[in-house]
Structures are given as C-alpha cells and as structure tokens.
C-alpha cells in the first residue's frame, strides 16, 4: 500500500494537520463529470488538493468557535485561486465564471461548506465590477493585493430597510468641499466585514426624489474600512449556519472617503453592479451543488455501513429511494448551473446572446441548485437518523448552511417573479 505524504508548506494552527490527509471521499465521485471542459476539471482537481488539507474537523471547530478560516483563505490565495476570474495583467488567471463556479463547488463539496465558500466569495465576485470599470490606478492599488490575499474585501450593498429592493437604498454619500464624500447610513449582511480591509460599497449620490430614473443616482465605491475611525461601526450578527464567517451590520456616520474611490461614473453604480449579479447567481448555484453532493455522498456511505435489523439500512428502499431522487435532482441542477455559466461567459463575446436570456438561465440555476441542495442535505440528515443531528457527522452543519443559497442573493419568490415576468410575460405583481 502506498501512503501519501505530501504536505503544504503553510504553517497552520495546531488543530490542522500539516500533512495531506487521507482522503475520505469515494474514489469515484458522485457527480458525473462528462461535459466539463479540461480546464474545469483541472481546476476541480487542483482546488480539491488545496482543500484536502482542511478536514471536516477544521470546519467543525471553526463553526463552533465562530472563528474565521483565515488559514484556508491564505492557502487559496497562496496558490493564486482568488484571481481565477480576474485579468491576467493584474496577476489573475483570466478564466471565466464557468471555472470560478466549479472552484466554488469544489470548495463546498470538500466539506468546507458555505463557510469555506463565503470566506473567499466576495474576493472572487465583488472584484468583478471593479476589474471591469475601475481606473488603472484603482486596479493597481487593489486587485494584486486581493489576489495575493493581503487585502480582503467585502461587498456592501444590502440595507436593512431596502432588502431586495436595491433601488430604494438610502445610504448617502455626500460630496465634500475637498472633492471626497461623507457616507451615512446602514448596511446589513456584510460578510467578512470584520476581517476585510476594503469594501465595495453602493451608496446614493443623488437623492431619490431628484433622480430622473430609479436606477440612477446610485454610485459604486471601493473604500478602505478603517475600523478605528469614528463614524464606522460594525456589529456581528449571530446566525444559523456558516458561523465561522462573520456577517455584520455596518453603520456609517459621516465616514469620509476620498473622491478617487468612486468606481465608474457617479450615478451609474446600479448598472455597474448589475453586471456582477448574474455571475454571483452562478457561483451560489455551484456552492449549493457542492453542499448537496457532499451531504449525499456522506449519506450514501452511512446507509451502506450502518447495520440495523441485520442488514445495511441502505438496503431499505425507504432509505435508498429518497437519496437516489436527491441525486437526480442534483444532476439536473448541475446541468442548469453550468449551462448558465457557459452562457454568461459566452455573452461577453457573443452579442447575439440577450442579457435577459443570461438572467433567466442564471436565476433558474440558482433556484434549482438551492432546492436540490436543500433536498439532498435534509435527506442526508434523515438517513443518518439520530446521528444526523450530531455535529460529528457534518450533515447537520451543511443542512444549516444550505438555507443560504435558498435565501441569498435573491429569494426563491423573486426568481419566480422574474421568470413569470420575463419568460411567461405575465404582469408584474409588485
């Protein structure tokens, strides 16, 4: 028997084994990989190797102690993964959303779950509008540092009083005499704000009453988060899952930011972030799929090994059929997800692909993947019986986390509204 020996050169805290862990994944992964490109499969293999150094014990402990998985973020940054979808001349790999999505799926599927994904999510996605619309100086100042992992970034859009109604955001950035802005208002559900140095922030530069169109008057900024500075406060939100990664309410009160932190044109911020929203749906769909496959794999293994009444419980169709059904749902959602990602990537070059076509595909993918993941995670807990409720078996953690892709970045109901309106051409209800 040949024993793998390889270790990472990173220094981990004591609870992380330095040597490459024996993989507990089945030799033949559940997900069918036919149809993926060679690059996608290379990404999947390589990311899997990085993740193998972070076993379930690491994620369990970080979840329970609400401790940031900084070592994991550092390991991915060290090998260049944070730059997967950023331009090559800034140190990125210049790959598309198709590759970034499979990276996110591989991360959650490794057992890291949503906590692992969320620790880097914004670095991959919130940097997209910046890379596309930022000035040369803004790019040089921020992007290389983010790719290297020296700077972490968070995404500040959601507000407590606006929710999904992004156009009614009330946070104000007011011009000051020195050409800068002063920001006042609240943001909520800001992931990683406690550990991020920068924030991509959407704020109103023209009052809603004065703007000609609802979509105008919002501007996008890339600002420094100086936690010691008066006028900036944040409060961590206690939450159901992904507890290792902080989510916050962030309060700004006359917090000064320089004029050159504006990304793109003033008042055009909504259009700028719209660009990244479809990409984010794909990433979330991938993350959901990974959770689902991880939970299903664990459930199948348990059903095969657990013997009750003198035979493995998986021999009972009452146990096996729900799992088989969950598998098919995941496979279908996978096809929808990578179709959407492919369409998104193709739409950059191919102008004959309509934006609403991409939007429908990305929203459908997010919806289907989130539902399939929920089904798989719930059934995985149930297949484990009492053990499914125990932290040690991981499925309860993934079950708690699989609610995230169902709710964020857009609810199921809003996706149904969107499809009703854009595809079925039914009148809008809100």
């Amino acid at each position: 028997m040949f024993i793998p020996w390889r270790s990472s050169t990173l220094k981990f805290s004591s609870h992380v084994p330095c040597h490459r862990a024996f993989t507990t994944t089945t030799p033949r992964p559940l997900m069918a990989t036919a149809g993926f490109t060679e690059t996608q499969l290379t990404v999947r293999d390589a990311v899997k190797q990085v993740c193998a150094a972070f076993p379930p014990t690491y994620w369990r402990e970080n979840d329970q102690l609400a401790q940031d998985p900084a070592e994991f973020h550092a390991a991915l940054a060290k090998d260049g993964w944070l730059g997967i979808a950023l331009p090559e001349d800034l140190g990125g790999a210049g790959l598309g959303v198709s590759e970034a999505t499979i990276m996110m799926q591989t991360i959650t599927e490794s057992g890291a779950g949503m906590a692992g994904a969320q620790s880097i999510h914004a670095n991959v996605y919130a940097t997209q509008p910046l890379a596309r619309f930022g000035t040369e100086a803004q790019l040089q100042e921020t992007i290389p540092g983010i790719i290297k992992g020296e700077t972490r970034i968070c995404f500040g859009v959601t507000e407590p009083d606006a929710g999904l109604d992004t156009l009614s955001l009330s946070m104000v950035a007011k011009r000051t005499a020195d050409g800068g802005y002063k920001v006042t208002g609240k943001k909520i559900w800001i992931t990683c704000a406690q550990v991020a140095k920068k924030m991509v922030l959407l704020a109103r530069t023209t009052p809603r009453e004065e703007g000609r169109k609802a979509s105008e008057g919002l501007s996008l900024f890339c600002i420094d988060l100086d936690r010691g500075h008066p006028g900036l406060e944040m409060r961590r939100i206690q939450k159901m899952g992904g507890r290792a990664v902080d989510a916050n309410e962030v309060f700004f009160d006359e917090y000064p930011i320089p004029g050159d932190s504006l990304i793109g044109e003033e008042g055009k911020g909504f259009k700028v972030i719209l660009h990244g929203m479809n990409a984010e749906r794909c990433l979330l769909a991938g993350e959901a799929l990974g959770l689902g496959y991880a939970a299903l794999g664990k459930a199948a293994k348990y059903a095969k090994e657990r013997v009750v009444f003198g035979r493995p419980i998986g021999m009972n169709q009452g146990v096996s059929h729900p799992l088989a059904d969950a598998y098919m749902k995941l496979e279908a959602a996978k096809l929808a997800t990578y179709h959407a990602a492919r369409l998104y990537d193709a739409s950059r070059e191919d102008k004959s692909i309509r934006m609403d076509e991409v939007g429908v595909a990305c929203n459908s993918a997010k919806y289907l993947a989130a539902e399939a993941a929920f089904t798989a995670c719930e059934r995985a807990v149930l297949a484990h019986g009492g053990m499914g409720y125990a932290v040690e078996y991981d499925v309860e953690r993934w079950f708690r986390e699989c609610l995230v892709p169902r709710i964020a970045p857009v609810s199921r109901e809003m996706i149904l509204n969107y499809v009703s309106e854009k595809v079925l051409e039914l009148p809008r209800s809100y």
Partner: protein, 258 residues
Amino acid sequence: MSALRILVPVKRVIDYAVKPRVNKAQTGVETAGVKHSMNPFDELSVEESVRIREKKSAPGGVEDICVISAGPTKAQDVLRTAMAMGADRAIHVETKPDDDLEPLTVAKLLKAAAEQQKSNLVILGKQSIDDDANQTGQMLAGLLGWPQATQASKVEFGEGDIVSVTREVDGGVETVRAKLPMIITTDLRLNEPRYASLPNIMKAKKKPLEKKTLADFGITGEKRLKVLKVMEPPPRQGGGKVEDVDGLISKLKELGAI
C-alpha cells in the same frame, strides 16, 4: 560545472487513492473510467528538478527540465501537471492502447531520448505504483553506461560535476558519489511535492509539448513477458477476539502454540 539538462520521465497511473479492480477477462486491472494521476514517485522527481533550479543548488545552474511520458493521449495530462509544477517542456510519446511497455522497452526509449535531448541528468521515480517493477532506472543506467544512485533521499551538488546522493538503506543512510552524466531514482523522503498553483497551471498550457511516436526513437514495443492471469488476492480471514488474558492463553494452548 556543466549546466544541468534534466530529463524527467513521468508515468500516468491509476490514482493512489483508487482501489484497483481486476477486469473480467483476468488479464489486468480495470482502467476505463478510473481516476488517473501522475505516479507519486515521479512527482518527487519533478519536484526535485524544480528545487535544484529554484535553490540554485547546482553550481552550473539548470538549463533545461524536460519531462517525457509514453502512453495514450491522456498521458498529456500528467505532462501538463509536471509543467505546472515547473518543468520547461514536455515530450509525449503516444502509444497504442495495446502497447504495454515493459521496463526494458521504456529504458531503451529513455536512452534514445536522453541522447537526443543531450541530457546529463535523468531523475526517475524509483518505481511506478501500478507495476511496482523498480527496474527502469537501473536498466537505463546500464544501457547508457552512466553511474546510478537509486532511492535518493537527498541530492547535493559539488564542484567538478560531482553529485552526492544519500539513500536510505536497512539500518541507516548511505551516501554515494558520482560524476555527471548520471541517473538518480527518487524515494519518499526526498521532498514534498508542491501543488500546482493557478498561475502556473495557466502558464503550463503555453509551454511546448512535443508529440512523438516510439518509431521516432527507433523503438518497437516488442514484448518479452506474457501475463498469464491477474487475480484479486484472497480475502483476508477475520481473526477472533478473546475476552481476557486467560482466554488468550487457553486459545493459544488449544492451537498448540504454547
């Protein structure tokens, strides 16, 4: 000291984590649809070559690191991996599905390749984890008439093309010294291979990969060995548990062991 031109043979094998299954015809193991990766001992060879360059441990420097693999089209995957780890270029010797190369054939191929590429150092894995033959390196040294240092756990360079290789042997370590050109085969303790980083994976796509055939090296895939039958080892018989020491003693007495 001469600048090093390192040739690193790599092999695509069934991944170490996969439990191989014997095929129905009992002629070999099932390879279709099974995950393959680079032979782990070859990862050590690639890593060592790249480290010699990075750490500037050879006084004459490293001029070239060329990886070579003989196998089906898919063998290009491991060549790309090797280039992502830091090799400069690759040669793929495409074989037909029924070309099952024996160690001697591989050694002859590598001899021709080493001469063609003007290599002065060949670093091979001590064995591949599929056949576990542990022959190719030694045969290659014999064919080329070069010195060999097998199962290396440490490689050091001195002046005047002198290379010292430490190898783990029963009861301790042994250090051998030879002069370039030479053959080194790698063992587990030599280094810890790196994972390919994303930027290097991207760079590897642009590195040159030359496609060749056995005939280009004047080799025919003739076989000297014939596999008669491949079988699974018999399943292990389970042992029995005893309650306590007295139980153990009476069991041993029963079996006539004491």
